[in-house]
Subunit: 771 residues, 2 copies
């Protein structure tokens, strides 16, 4: 138990179903780094100040809040509060169980007065009953009889630590919840609150079940911001006392106090009916189904194998039951980035969820769709037609306070469209395509037309935008943006033609379709003939190279130590941008261009963002830099587990965690899905003996099994499926796997990173076992 | 007396000597738009907030404050307070006298109770005694005897109107002054205050002299934030009571309370010694000398003639006694732009002051020099060598809260250097060159070297900067910036070579000199071969043309109605940028390039800044668009007089006022001063019969007299001077003027402005007479 690592463990051990999120705080509440209980999209508004205001700057932002904390169970042993900082801690183990979907804690502690107890707790956020958190808390005296008191609490407006200067940390908002109602009963408490400015109503309720009712004195206490149920009993050595705490959460922006209160009471009653064992069994069943679809097996690297499951589990937790609410960049594991959603969701998380939990991908895209009216308003405000999605938001309004790295990152609109096209292709969910996808595609296509223009040479240019790389801004013809906009425009035209009646409802005309197609086909993609590479944007390769040699290690991340102006005018890359285009629009580039581009940008990319290494892994693997790909994948896998970016404490990097799967499946599996064709080009790095993964594609379960020499493809169910393996047509069927040899890798010319910026190998900050 | 025009008249009738500034508030204080008493560089700090913070953003800004108001004289007539809003105002005239340097007011008013009085006041801020304000206040009953009470006040922390949403308005700071001392005596009061955060100490003192001591009851009252001297008397009809109020101001960041107090007492005592008539005589003498040097006579346009003297008078007021403090963009006429100084000073004001009041130009440049340590610190913070002057400041620290239109506008460094080179050339002040100029030139040259780089083709590029035009930002190779940096580098190398010992003190090496010269000679200046024009910056001419046709009139200024992103990515120009390069670096361009460039940019320039029309006037005249030049000059002349930008109320646009002189002398006089050569190419527009102006050049008084057909040059004093007239060598001497014919103008191809943006003709908002 290393108290210095509390922040990290609170994030790593976070539990969530996408609707409720609990940081891995200790049951007894203290010590803590950041107490965290979150409800998806329950936010408070805060003013966004500007030293110099500008037209279209958002005036208020949305910040996720720490809601009423129901996970508190304090223990007193002979009146001595259990606190790991006092007495003697003999053993303290916490285990995040990916199969059972619970966080287990097992410890033995001797109080300062000499009483030794064993405590086992199991905490769960139910995937099946999405309003429910359940905790089983067991305490057993070891050597001598003991008086035991358990105080189970509900606490609103917990005091939070003051925020630092790092802009990535959430704004502190003191006491955002105004109490509305307090309902105690014999064995539980219900509290209703409302956020002060955003006017969102929430209810939280705790209920308890325990063993040996006769010997237990129970008292209940309730105040507007705190409820507690106290259980007092005396136990013999070896006699275990077991408490099950059920917590229900509900919230609404519209429903009445009684409605929200009743909704939570009903949820808790249903959970009580299921009982602890029932909840546990449901949770296991839900996860069994997930792992059957989505598990990735890697032989030859046990540590990586564990990191893979860790990442898949958290990606599932972030998206499983988000249900038409946003998936934040840090899921519900911390308040980092104010709980905002960015392009991360569509570009990194949804490609994983589309193939492993397609319903979650659909829900997420339906959330985007639900924000279209706001995006249309924003487009109008910005002088565009169509819709402009916000760079960062919770509910849908733009919350970015620095437009050159916010609103100017128009690529998010193409990223959303790309996710729509991918989801529909992977699922053949034509209802979604017609009822949701079409409108997104149409409105974003319109935005591109109004943003860009045809130049004198007839090329369609998109000027003054910021691409994925946030170390450049306001450039012309960012290659990634232009190529993704091209896909957006083509997709919009194709889908609008497929549903002429529906498209007619959005007033799409034939002339408009022609315009989209013409812009797509005339899309300008700059190329630097001198260097033989694509500039990230017009003029990029003319800029001065960043002085890497004179940049000491401690000056990274650069954005915290150098002015934007200096960074923007230099050739230095925070995160894959052109290289991300090589992945997502790999269909545009020749293999030679990919190799040259990768080598050029590799030498400039410092990875001050967690949204880079996975893309570099994918393209390194495609080009044949197998060792480098492996190293990048390791960095991806360790980013949170070893806190490589030093901010895991404020929440996990969900997109990066999704990047583990992308690195494996798109990288070493060579999976691509351009324009509806599912293709593979698998190849394992030295040391790995087997990589096996499953994907859901068009209603079928595909299993891919890769060894150093060959790959096999088979279906678990459904009609045969035609794929490609290293360019060759392959038909996967139920039953016998088709096996294909893997062609030898042609060793490419070596590449290098900026001095001091090779892939991070990790430096285990705490032991994580291989169990 | 139009109360709706109070804001404008308060600015237009402002008095200042560059050290003290008084807005033209009514003597009785009310009604007012914005009460204003300013002391140059007496500012308060205020936090600069950011929705998303960034490295190098200034954390606090400096805002000019409204200091203790000493100009208040309230009048009671038979206990009825004189207020123009009540009773009947028969006559109310105010006259700003450019020869006497006073503001006169003459009115007759009948009180609600029927008492008619005449009031004459004369207000002066002394050019000669720079700490002194003097007011003569005369009141005469007209029809019947009257009891008259005059309350003369000193008021600190006056309540100010709340600021609007316009970012150009000053931040409101309530009660910035903390009282330190209060000193009443029989006939005066002295108050000492200190600013809360910037810790600047100021003292203000009033003293009074009046007629007819025997009949006057005097009482004095003093509180920490208010002092008053009340004089009560009874007058017969036609009997005049005359009060002279002397106000002294002093402030210091370092000196003690007694020192500051004594300094003000001494100043007031000296002024008392001079007496009202003495002060008036000194003021007249000071201005006689100025007008003898600097007056401009224009025959054929009386209204313009008056506007010329109005502008010259205000430019003098802004700079005369600034004495090593900054000259703010609005002088000391209002709190607009927070009282900050920008590049306006060096690029627009100093070219006028250099030739009309060279001592003021020198003082201003010595102020810049005094901020070099701060500019070096800022350069270090930004990762540059040398010095980086702030975009906006009072004391020298960067106060810009939006870096793409602040810190990124590096051209200010070249603008300062250009002003140094001009001043030295025009004055041959070699002491200044060695002791001040050299260091500025060296440190700015170093900054350019570290900012720019040599590209693969050996060209010196300066990327990611913002030029003068604030409707573009963060562009590569802004032509204006690059050409001005070239002059900066050349000047630094030349001057450093001239003072090798002094240069050695700044560690200038031969290698460094070579580098400056090489960068200057390799300076990259982009050219668009397709269009045959210089792009404002690399890629500018590829951008989409702003949709002028669909921009309604009320959407100007664009920056208040469209997002920066939209504006930046379009071809639309706020203010002369490339066209300013045509003026200041006219030596670089061929006449054909000038004509083509002017035509191209004329069609894109909307003049949402007041720093544009004068430059367009200058280049229009050079190219031969005489009528257009005249129209632009009219716009310049009317900008404040007719409130064309709708913000004259927050202060006069000093650079624009300087632009009147520039439009005349550089425009119709064709005066240029590239690299030390003084040249003229005069040419009058239709309707003007004569333009005559004086300039101080290398210690001589040069008089230029232009008629439609010829120009004559002569000196008032000194050795003969070689000039050029339309390219032809001319020697001006004392005595007989040399006359040269003006070659006929070749009518150039027509140019046009964006729809709805022709030169503004003005729409007189209040009558200003031709007296």
């Amino acid at each position: 138990m290393d108290i210095d690592l509390l922040a990290q463990t609170e994030s790593l051990f976070a539990l969530s179903n996408g609707h409720i999120g609990l940081r891995g705080n200790l049951d007894e509440g203290e010590p803590h780094s950041l107490p965290g209980t979150y409800l998806n999209s329950l936010y408070e508004l805060r003013p966004l100040p500007y030293a110099e205001a500008g037209y279209g700057y958002p005036e208020s932002g949305q910040s996720v809040i720490n809601v009423t904390n129901g996970k508190l169970i304090r223990l007193l042993v002979d009146d001595e509060p259990f606190d790991v900082r006092y007495g003697e801690l003999h053993r303290h183990e916490r285990t995040l169980d990916f199969r059972d979907g619970v966080l287990r804690r097992d410890l033995e502690w001797t109080s300062p007065a000499g009483q030794r107890v064993r405590v086992c707790s199991t905490r769960m956020v139910s995937f099946v009953q999405r309003s429910i958190v359940a905790i089983q808390y067991e305490v057993t005296p070891v050597d001598a009889p003991a008086r035991i008191v358990l105080q189970s609490e509900l606490v609103a407006n917990e005091q939070l630590p003051p925020p630092g200067n790092d802009p990535r940390l959430a704004a502190l908002m003191e006491a955002p919840l105004e109490p509305e109602e307090t309902y105690p009963n014999h064995t539980g408490v219900l509290l209703v609150h409302r956020t002060r400015h955003s006017a969102l109503r929430m209810a939280s309720m705790m209920e308890h079940i325990w063993d040996g009712d006769d010997d237990v004195l129970v008292t209940t206490d309730a105040h507007p911001d705190a409820g507690s149920v106290t259980l007092s009993t005396t136990l013999e050595p070896g006699q275990r006392f077991r408490l099950v705490k059920l917590i229900g959460y509900g919230w609404s922006s519209q429903r009445s106090r009684p409605a929200v209160r009743s909704q939570v009471m009903a949820a808790v009653t249903a959970a009580k009916h299921s009982g602890w064992d029932g909840l546990l069994a449901e949770q296991r069943r839900y996860l069994d189904e997930f792992w059957a679809r989505a598990d990735v097996r890697l032989d030859g690297d046990e540590r990586m194998q564990q990191a893979i499951r860790f990442s898949l589990f958290h990606v599932l937790q972030a998206g499983a039951r988000a249900e038409q609410r946003a998936i934040p960049a840090k899921g519900l594991t911390g308040s980092g980035y104010d709980g905002h959603t960015f392009w991360d969701t569509e570009t990194f998380l949804l490609p994983v969820l589309t193939y492993t939990a397609p319903q979650a991908a659909k829900d997420s895209l339906r959330w985007r769709h639900s924000t279209l009216d706001l995006a249309r308003e924003r487009a109008t405000q910005l002088g565009h037609t169509g819709a402009t999605f916000p760079w960062r938001t919770i509910r849908g309004q733009e919350c970015s306070g620095y437009w050159p790295a916010g609103t100017a990152a128009y690529h998010i609109n193409a990223d959303v469209s790309d996710a729509v096209l991918r989801y529909v292709n992977a699922t053949e969910d034509l209802d979604f395509e017609r009822d949701y996808g079409l409108e997104i595609l149409v409105e974003t296509a319109r935005m591109w037309i109004s943003l860009g223009h045809f130049d004198a040479a007839g090329r369609f240019r998109i000027d003054g935008v910021t691409g994925p790389d946030e170390y450049s801004a306001l450039a012309d013809n960012n290659v990634y943006t232009n190529l993704m906009a091209q896909r957006n425009l083509r997709g919009a035209a194709r889908v609008a033609k497929a549903y002429p009646d529906k498209a007619g409802e959005f007033s799409v005309t034939g002339a408009e379709l022609d315009q989209w197609s013409r812009a797509a086909e005339s899309m300008y993609v700059p190329f630097d003939e001198r260097l033989g590479v694509h500039p990230q944007a017009t003029g990029f390769t003319d800029h001065e190279r960043w002085d890497f040699d004179n940049t000491p290690k401690e000056k990274y991340p650069l954005l915290l130590n150098y002015p934007y102006g200096d960074i923007y005018r230099s050739q230095v890359i925070k995160q894959a941008d052109l290289v991300l285009a090589l992945h997502l629009r790999g269909d545009y580039f020749t293999p030679e261009q990919k190799a040259r581009n990768f080598a050029y940008y590799e030498a400039l990319t410092v990875r001050d963002s967690s949204l880079s290494a996975c893309t570099q892994a994918v393209i390194a693997a495609e080009i044949g830099h197998m060792r480098l790909a492996q190293d990048y994948l390791r960095e991806v896998a360790l980013t949170d587990l070893d806190d490589l970016h030093h901010n895991t404490g404020s929440g996990l990097h969900m997109a990066n965690l999704a990047g583990v799967w992308l690195g494996l499946v798109a990288g070493f599996g060579g999976m691509r899905d351009h324009d509806g064709a599912l293709t593979f080009a698998p190849r394992l790095p030295a040391g790995w003996t087997r990589l096996k993964f499953g994907m859901t594609f068009r209603g079928r379960q595909l299993r891919v099994d890769i060894s150093p020499s060959e790959a096999s493809y088979k279906l678990q169910d459904g009609e045969p499926l035609t794929l490609r393996h290293h360019g060759q047509k392959v038909t996967a069927r139920v039953g016998k796997a088709v096996r294909h040899p893997i062609p030898p890798v042609l060793t490419p010319a070596p590449v290098h990173q900026p001095p001091g910026r090779p892939p991070l190998t990790g430096n285990p900050v705490f032991p994580w076992s291989n169990a």
